[in-house]
């Protein structure tokens, strides 16, 4: 593994032991302006809303706006970090609630609501962590995912 990936876990949740009500280990990430510039580059979305202080000030916004699509990436990361490489997120839904601005910290959480043969369904939310470390305003909610277990790829890979 590279230096970047060597901190990645090598042990994951026991899929057979997952039950309804299990909590997904939360994922927290502070999204700084540098992260937002990197994300804008990675997604080819260079809209000034995501990095240009002068532009957002003209729009009377408190800061550069975090691209909402990053919530989806973080939710997938949270689920994969918990379930490991032998899992595949086949469905992911999320609704936007409030804007998030540069420098704020997001907290993703989730709970297992259904366990089926070879898959689970999870409900999730993304909130902004307030200055006391508590859940603040919702960034995305409700959110949900269906995750296939025991496979590293989706059904389309079988073709």
């Amino acid at each position: 593994m590279s230096t970047w990936t060597e901190s990645y876990p090598t042990e994951f949740a026991d899929h057979a032991a997952i039950t309804v009500g299990d909590q997904v280990p939360p994922l927290e990430r502070t999204i700084g302006l540098t992260d937002m510039v990197a994300y804008a580059g990675a997604t080819w979305d260079w809209h000034k809303l995501h990095y240009d202080a002068e532009y957002v000030a003209e729009k009377k916004l408190p800061g550069a706006i975090v691209d909402g699509q990053v919530y989806g990436a973080l939710l997938v990361e949270m689920l994969q970090d918990w379930l490991g490489p032998q899992s595949f997120v086949s469905k992911l839904d999320f609704s936007f609630r409030n804007l998030v601005f540069a420098g704020e910290t997001l907290r993703c959480t989730g709970e297992v609501v259904e366990v089926a043969e070879g898959s689970i369904r999870v409900t999730m939310q993304v909130v902004v962590v307030d200055e006391d470390g508590n859940d603040g305003r919702a960034a995305a909610a409700p959110c949900s995912a269906v995750v296939l277990l025991g496979t590293s790829d989706g059904p389309g890979a079988q073709k």
Binding site: M1, Y8, A42, Q69, A73, P85, K91, G156
Partner: protein, 172 residues
């Protein structure tokens, strides 16, 4: 007058197709992982990925749905260079509703992706505060050069009237 004009209603069925000019490659997924802060070696370590049953490295799942990378469109004055329906609805503010992704398989570096967007439905409703909302439901499919379905993405854009709707018989 309703926001749902005949011109807006006629947008249902409108389609845009964007095909990447080259295979996806491995760097895009590795870069996206770095940008998001996702340390998963599936995006950067081919040996690790093969040990999990994949052909090699893949990309974080949501990256395939970022259409701008295939669009090859010019940058507008606000820096945006990507897919848009270019809807201008005067007297409204635009709100994004959300996304519904379906992933069929992981992206491979050899995939040449085509994104096909369509406006599925245009409707009008009134919110609890009496403001009309124009709801644009659109969806995209992402396929590769062999016609493999990689992912689907449904999203909603809402244009909310800045002023409350005027009831029938009421003076404006």
């Amino acid at each position: 007058m309703s926001l749902l004009t005949p011109e807006i209603a006629a947008l249902e069925g409108t389609q845009r197709v964007y095909t990447a000019p080259e295979p996806f490659g491995g760097a895009a997924g590795r870069y996206f992982g770095l940008a998001v802060g996702d340390h998963n070696p599936l995006y950067s370590d081919p040996e690790y990925a093969r040990a999990q049953g994949l052909d090699g490295v893949t990309a974080p799942l949501t990256l395939v749905c970022e259409t701008n990378q295939y669009a090859d469109l010019p940058m507008d004055p606000e820096g945006y260079a990507g897919h848009t329906w270019q809807l201008d609805v005067p007297g409204t503010r635009q709100v994004r509703g959300g996304n519904s992704y379906t992933f069929h398989r992981r992206l491979r570096p050899s995939d040449v992706v085509t994104a096909t967007w369509a406006i599925d439905q245009v409707t009008s409703k009134t919110n609890r505060s009496g403001h009309e909302m124009l709801v644009i439901a659109s969806s995209a499919t992402y396929t590769n050069q062999d016609g493999d379905l990689l992912a689907e993405n449904a999203e909603t854009i809402i244009f909310v009237a800045l002023e409350p709707a005027v009831a029938a018989g009421e003076k404006a």
